[in-house]
């Protein structure tokens, strides 16, 4: 059967009995069986649970917002009774005793859990290559990275192995895999979605969010998972902002300088033109401290990583610390270094102050405009192996991502087209805290104007 690429079409098909939820599950599993060996996308397939849930959906009324939506979770989300590894050999055989809030809410909304998706170990990486279970290949071109760290979450959608996925974004890890897979994704406002049951990377930066084929699908999943659960004290229940009738978008001049890939520059120029024809105004804005964003991030993040990974001692669960891979070891050491006596002030305290400056500049810009447009990454999907021996060059992949995480603002990654080599292109729209509704509105305006159709890579 031809698998539908949106929640709406899926539910229409189920209600009209064009197919059953069991048949949907069959079809996704067929594709997993056909392609997973080569592309290394799913780490664990929860076939039995999926069929059990699909049968329930087929018997029920299908009124739930995600009824019949076959879902895969980045393997950093705890799933009760289903192995959860965080992409690391440390948790190779770990079976969680409870599920993350995001998982629980998606399942309660009718989602069918199909399994767990490959990712950089502990979500450390921009390419998926730091997974202890081997890299995921990009379905659009198997020589390329699908983007990390939620590598399987992007590739599973490009390969049409499920309908929506979840990811975590500490510095671009939800947005890059969408950008490298012709997909939509949301890094929500810090504090919009509970991280309960999600293995922590850097706690002042981690956000949980959805990936899907359309803006509407990402919005639907976000509305299911957002809001307080009493288990993550950073979460604020926030009234959704009213949709604006008129928008002004800022173009941060520091993001459009030498070094930006010409095809990315071109696709964003075209998007600006399309937005203008839809009545959106544009204004040049300035974020002078963002050139220090990666330095700031690579102090704060490893510091928090070294603390969060301290709990993995092999006593209560998992293997010993010797099972950590190279990147986890590097980050633990970097974090321990910047927090150690004699270096704390020079590195960690300075980074926290630079973070204040970045937050202030972002806030000032949002006094002038409703959103900002920016690239997601400096280049289209790069080759597997290209940056693995040089961690610093890998870190710089996230140069456009860091601002949203450091200042806790939402960002929507939107596909816009393909490069000459046939690789996905796109951009991100960042907005003020809790402005997700307006970002969705802008994303839909743009996609309506270009008559966007979702696309998958493998036949």
């Amino acid at each position: 059967m031809d698998l539908p690429l949106t929640i709406k079409e899926t539910q229409k098909g189920l209600i009209e009995k064009k197919f059953s939820a069991v048949e949907l599950t069959d079809s996704y599993l067929e594709r997993i069986n056909k392609y997973n060996k080569e592309y290394n996308i799913f780490l664990t397939v929860s076939e039995e649970d999926a069929y059990k849930k699909a049968k329930e959906i087929d018997k029920s009324e299908k009124k739930l917002p995600l009824a019949g939506v076959v879902t895969g979770y980045k393997d950093i989300f705890m799933t009760k009774g289903i192995r959860t590894t965080a992409g690391s050999k440390v948790l190779e055989g770990y079976i969680p005793p409870y599920s993350a809030t995001a998982v629980k809410r998606i399942e309660e909304a009718g989602g069918i859990t199909l399994g767990k998706l490959n990712c950089d170990a502990w979500a450390h990486g921009s390419s998926g290559e730091n997974s202890d279970f081997g890299p995921t290949k990009n379905p659009w071109n198997r020589g390329c990275t699908p983007g990390g760290s939620s590598s399987g979450s992007g590739a599973a959608l490009s390969a049409n192995m499920c309908l929506v996925t979840t990811g975590t974004d500490t510095c671009g890890s939800i947005r890059l895999p969408a950008n490298y897979g012709y997909l939509v994704s949301l890094k929500p406002t810090y504090g919009a979605v509970s991280r309960y049951g999600v293995i922590a990377m850097a706690s002042s930066l981690d956000s949980v969010g959805p990936l899907g084929h359309t803006v509407g699908d990402v919005e639907t999943v976000f509305n299911v998972i957002k809001g307080g659960d009493g288990h993550d004290s950073t979460v604020v229940d926030h009234e959704a902002q009213a949709i604006k009738s008129k928008y002004k978008i800022g173009i941060p001049k520091e993001f459009f300088v030498d070094g930006i890939d010409p095809e990315i520059q071109k696709t964003i120029d075209e998007a600006v033109k399309i937005f203008k024809s839809e009545g959106v105004e544009f204004k040049e804005v300035s974020l002078p401290s963002t050139k220090y964003a990666i330095s700031c991030y690579y102090i704060i993040q490893p510091a928090e990583v070294s603390s969060n990974l301290g709990r993995f001692d092999g006593i209560r669960y998992g293997n010993s610390r010797e099972a950590f891979g190279d990147e986890a070891k590097r980050r633990i050491m970097l974090g321990t270094y910047v927090l150690s006596s004699g270096y704390y002030e020079a590195y960690y305290l300075t980074a926290m102050k630079v973070r204040t400056k970045i937050c202030q500049e972002t806030e000032k810009v949002f006094g002038e405009v409703d959103a900002m447009i920016a690239p997601v990454a400096p280049t289209p999907p790069f080759n597997l192996g290209e940056k693995t021996s040089d961690p610093l060059s890998m870190y710089l992949t996230d140069i456009y991502a860091a601002t949203a995480n450091l200042s806790g603002i939402p960002s929507l990654a939107i596909p816009s087209g393909f490069s000459k080599k046939g690789l996905p292109l796109g951009f991100q729209l960042m907005g003020p805290r809790f402005s997700e509704n307006n970002l969705f509105d802008l994303g839909k305006k743009y996609h309506d104007a270009i008559s966007f159709e979702p696309k998958v890579a493998l036949k």
Partner: protein
């Protein structure tokens, strides 16, 4: 900014309870040095009088009642299910105190 030395890498690894092989030290030393050099660029930024930011929610002191919520409490079996090093429902851990050697 400062260049990392082998001794510093060994010291950090000890603080972080990591055991590194010689080949790992050889690999990590230049990689960590280049990152430390890069993040050193922050010294250019004028941060005088700037308050540090540790989190961006604007929230302070989020409290809850100190009550047992039995719906959200794991059983002993569930809580210890990830380990096979158990004794009477407790985790077995390595000893951190040794017999005094001066007696």
């Amino acid at each position: 900014m400062s260049k990392l030395t082998k001794d510093e890498v060994l010291h950090i690894a000890k603080l972080a309870q990591l055991t590194l092989s010689d080949s790992e030290i050889k690999k990590f030393l230049p990689q960590l040095t280049s990152v430390v050099e890069y993040i050193g660029q922050l010294k250019e930024v004028n941060t005088e009088g700037v308050e540090p930011t540790a989190q961006v929610t604007g929230l302070t002191n989020v409290f809850r009642q100190d009550e047992v919520d039995s719906a959200n409490t794991l059983s002993v079996d569930d809580a210890t299910g990830g380990s096979d090093k158990l004794y009477n429902g407790y985790f077995k851990v390595g000893a951190i105190l040794a017999d005094r050697s001066d007696k």
